[in-house]
């Protein structure tokens, strides 16, 4: 029988399953193993590596292993957050793929008892010259907006990048942040043999069954293709009722445990609940409310129908739970019970149709060591040259107009960023989103990833991505509390991809240690490659921090004529691997210069304190495009120009457009910056004022009016007619 191969299991894995069961698995059991032992569910190639990440910290309330991580923000409150990918489904159907990606990450957050209060998204596509990439971008943004807006959770931040290596494999990573009183947080471990397993929410159909359909006992003809949709359709209305219902149940302590249903549906949820609790679970598929007639037991067990949650309820509380669910118009059905058997048993009425040890299914999937080897030849094509000539003014306008740096306003205007009344800093107002919390104080959040620069140097590039995220938080005055990450890579069985993954994880771990920021959860998406090759290695980092006074949250725009403009922090830029190098069609360098992590951290803390004390008019992290692009962005956000004089320079191109960690463009009264210079390396280079940006450096003197800058920076607008 090679059915197992069609389902993605190796011969060795199949033999191991037979050994653990002491017999061959039947169709139901094979379906369950094929999914729980898949890379997506079991993290076969990454689990060992992820153990290198630091996960402890004083603020950590819930670390990796639960549906989401959580940190303490004072006042008895906890903030939950996590990022997840939905890359492959989005390539098939970008609207629903992105929408259900949002739906899924929302469920992970309210599964631990936190009310979702914000969404951020990180998107990567091929260059917009490609019609397919334009289509994916348009539909993904619409899908994220559709789900987040309908369910009433603001989308407050995000990023989008366009690079050739993502043409065949787009990346859609969605992050959710939630808020809860600490004592309302709940874990997913099932407990109490005799307790009832209750399924909440939508009915179960054939969504997502796809590959497992080879197990269908009925003969499939062409007409039946449509009966096995591989695309999951999201229903944010159903989920909005589910959120309120679950939080209501938790508020009154009616649940023993709660788990969301995502990849591999009932199998993984029930399996994980049982595993964490050291118990067994019996599920009767005949009791599961179905959307389609004649579903087979294996289909019920692996369906990925959306908007469903699983909970464990004491028998004496079942009526109260049913009553509460009826009020919220949420379906609630007892479908099984917790047992002491340590086994996951699938019943169809009275008949046992599947019976496996929980440990074998959930915990004993073989884990594989990576076999890394540094690449000996370039893995990625050289970017196509789009900028010719040697004109620094043209370079500035070309950078501002480039897809990676153009204003994202046409995207974020499709997102409700203000519902729930907490948003103090919206997109393009500051480097991070800021939400005020009831009870005082505020939290800040940012999502930052890097692809091309990680391809240049996975270790330094990943460290830099983490530091950039923390710098964004510093610019609004926030101290980082925790980090979530999504690792998007190619095929880890290939040594050069394994090398990228290992170096990136080491960079991530080192950066977290250097910043004292623990990893509280995350996600891995592997096998992102097509016929043209792998994606850039793309770690995406989401960070949450706190600040005491929301009214003092930093802004990125220049605010006052006459303010001095400076670079704060030790800034050591270089051109290779940056946005200008990309426009010039230069090949990727094979490494990036390192940076002094301790010094950058010290600069971040100085910026954070100065922002909190109200000493600065603006603070903006220098990132892609370099110093002059950051100044131009501050001009545009503030609606005012600037006059810069950088003096003599041996390397004006590098000084203006080079990239690297640790530099910030700040503005404020001259005396304030002079005082600030006592605490951080700082060089004053200009003054805020007028309606143009003027630059004098070395022999060069050039500029552009605000309206020229704005016109260049509006290049993405035509993509959303």
């Amino acid at each position: 029988m090679s059915r197992h191969r069609e389902l993605g299991l190796t011969d060795a894995e199949y033999e191991l399953i037979c050994e653990k069961l002491d017999r061959e698995p039947n169709a139901v059991e094979l379906a369950m193993f094929s999914l729980l032992w898949s890379e997506h569910c079991a993290y076969k190639h990454s689990r060992k590596l992820l153990r290198r990440l630091p996960t402890e910290g004083a603020s950590v309330v819930m670390g990796p292993g639960e549906n989401a991580g959580a940190v303490d923000v004072g006042g008895g409150r906890a903030v939950a957050f996590k990022v997840e990918s939905h890359n492959h489904p989005s390539a098939v159907e970008p609207f629903q793929g992105a929408a259900t990606g949002v739906g899924g990450i929302l469920r992970d957050v309210f599964a631990i008892g936190a009310r979702p209060i914000a969404v951020l998204d990180s998107l990567r596509f091929g260059e917009p010259a490609s019609e397919r990439s334009r289509y994916l971008l348009d539909r993904a943004v619409a899908g994220i907006g559709h789900y987040g807006n309908s369910i009433g959770v603001p989308t407050v931040g995000g990023e989008v990048y366009f690079e050739g290596p993502y043409e065949q494999n787009c990346l859609i990573n969605a992050m959710c942040v939630g808020l809860a009183p600490r004592e309302r947080l709940i874990r997913s471990a099932a407990a109490g043999p005799g307790n009832v397993l209750v399924l909440l929410g939508a009915s179960t159909g054939r969504d997502g069954i796809g590959g497992a359909s080879v197990l269908a006992s009925a003969e499939l003809d062409e007409a039946d293709e449509s009966k096995r949709p591989s695309v999951q359709i999201g229903d944010p209305f159903e989920e909005s009722k589910l959120v309120e219902c679950c939080l209501d149940l938790l508020e009154d302590d009616l649940l023993v445990s709660l788990q969301d249903l995502g990849a591999a549906g009932l199998t993984s949820s029930a399996g994980e609940m049982a595993s964490k609790g050291g118990v067994g679970i019996d599920i009767d598929v005949a009791r599961v409310p179905l959307r389609e007639a004649d579903m087979e037991p294996f289909e019920v067990m692996v369906s990925e129908s959306q908007e469903r949650m699983l909970c464990v309820v004491e028998p004496g509380r079942l009526d109260a739970v049913r009553g509460r669910c009826a009020r919220w118009e949420v379906r609630a059905t007892a479908i099984g019970e917790v047992t002491g058997s340590g086994r996951l048993r699938v019943l169809d009425g009275a008949e046992v149709v599947g019976d496996v040890p929980v440990a074998a299914l959930v915990d004993e999937c073989p884990l594989y060591d990576l076999v890394p080897a540094a690449p000996t030849a370039p893995l990625y094509p050289t970017p196509i040259r789009t900028l010719t000539g040697d004109d620094p003014r043209e370079a500035l306008l070309a950078l501002l107009a480039s897809p990676n740096l153009s204003s994202r306003r046409p995207l974020f205007q499709q997102y409700d960023s203000i519902v729930q009344s907490r948003t103090v800093r919206r997109p393009e107002q500051a480097d991070a989103a800021v939400l005020a919390l009831e009870g005082g104080g505020a939290i800040a959040m940012s999502i930052d990833g890097s692809g091309r620069r990680v391809a240049c140097d996975p270790y330094v590039g990943t460290m830099a991505a983490v530091f950039e995220c923390a710098s964004n938080l510093a610019c609004v005055g926030a101290e980082p509390l925790g980090l979530t990450n999504c690792l998007n890579f190619g095929n880890p069985e290939k040594p050069h991809i394994a090398w990228q993954l290992e170096r990136a994880v080491d960079g991530l771990a080192e950066a977290c240690r250097a910043l004292d920021v623990p990893v509280v959860g995350g996600n891995v998406s592997l096998y992102n490659e097509g016929t043209e090759g792998p994606i850039y290695p793309t770690p995406v980092v989401g960070m949450v921090g706190s600040l005491p006074h929301p009214e003092r949250a930093g802004r990125l725009g220049f605010a006052r004529e006459g303010d001095a403009i400076a670079i704060a922090g030790g800034f050591h830029p270089s051109l290779p691997g940056g946005e200008l190098a990309k426009l010039r069609g230069e090949p990727l360098p094979d490494r990036l210069p390192g940076f002094d992590a301790a010094k950058v951290r010290a600069a971040q803390e100085a910026i954070r304190d100065a922002v909190r004390a109200g000493e600065l008019s603006s603070a903006h992290d220098i990132a892609e495009g370099g110093f002059l692009v950051a100044v131009a962005e501050s001009c545009l956000a503030g609606g005012v120009g600037a006059a810069l004089d950088l003096g003599p320079s041996d390397e004006p191109w590098t000084q203006l457009y080079g990239e690297g960690a640790g530099g910030f463009v700040v503005s404020g009264p001259r005396e304030a910056l002079d005082r600030f210079a006592e605490r951080v390396p700082l060089d004053v280079f200009g003054t805020v004022g007028g309606d143009a940006l003027g630059v004098a450096i070395g022999d060069w003197s050039f500029g552009a009016t605000l309206s020229e800058l704005r016109e260049a920076n509006s290049a993405l607008a035509p993509l959303f007619p």
Binding site: A142, H146, N149, I151, K241, F412, D416, I418, S421, A436
Partner: protein
């Protein structure tokens, strides 16, 4: 002054409206399944996606038990404020003239717009003067106002260049004949706190809370 903010399955901005109204009076939530309006002095039908906007925005919510009471309340002259989805519900219910259609641009749009006060003589705009310009955020996909053939009482218009959805005659808000029911697409409840942006929306709530001059 006691405000009642209706809550349907799928409402999103009901708590925001409750928070905003609490700045000028007392504000309670009114469950869609209850006919009891709890003795409120004014009813707010909030923004969001009641019933998922399924079939048509507001088409199902208008038949909720609470809306029967709101209908009677309005018929008896009680002030009713419909915001965004609430405006859609009130049009579907026939408490306001006209209908809301998909935005001309066919996309959800979230941004601040300026509206001008056309009629400062309503319970909702008393604290404003005719011609006043208010900056208030909009966020919707279905906000293009279509007046009936016989016209409608326009209370707010989008300022030139600020019409975000193609509403005919730049109409942003209308009232009924009697003047006690008012609907607008912009979200005044999201313009009440200097921390989160404009405070111009507060004036609409203040208008409602102000004692009526003889």
């Amino acid at each position: 002054m006691k405000f009642g903010v209706v809550r349907f399955p799928g409402s999103c901005d009901e708590v925001d409206a409750q928070l905003a109204a609490s700045r000028v009076g007392e504000a309670v939530l009114l469950w869609h399944g209850d006919r009891d309006l709890q003795g409120v002095d004014a009813v707010v039908v909030p923004g969001g996606f009641s019933y998922g906007d399924y079939l048509r925005a507001g088409a199902i919510a208008r038949f909720s038990p609470v809306m029967e009471s709101v209908f009677e309340f309005a018929r008896d002259g009680g002030p009713v404020l419909g915001i965004c989805n609430g405006f859609q519900v009130l049009c579907e219910a026939g408490l306001l003239p006209g209908a809301l259609l998909p935005n001309v641009g066919l996309r959800f749009v979230c941004r601040h717009v300026d509206v001008e006060v056309v009629d400062a003589d309503t319970p909702f705009t008393r604290a404003c003067a005719r011609g006043d310009r208010l900056t208030i955020p909009v966020k919707h996909t279905t906000g293009r106002y279509h007046p009936p053939a016989e016209g409608a009482n326009v209370v707010l218009r989008y300022a030139p260049g600020h019409n975000p959805n193609g509403s005919e005659q730049d109409i942003a808000a209308v009232s009924n004949e009697a003047g006690n029911v008012f609907g607008l697409m912009p979200h005044p409840e999201h313009a009440v706190d200097p921390l989160t942006g404009s405070t111009d929306g507060l004036r609409l709530f203040e208008s409602l809370a102000a004692p009526v001059a003889a």
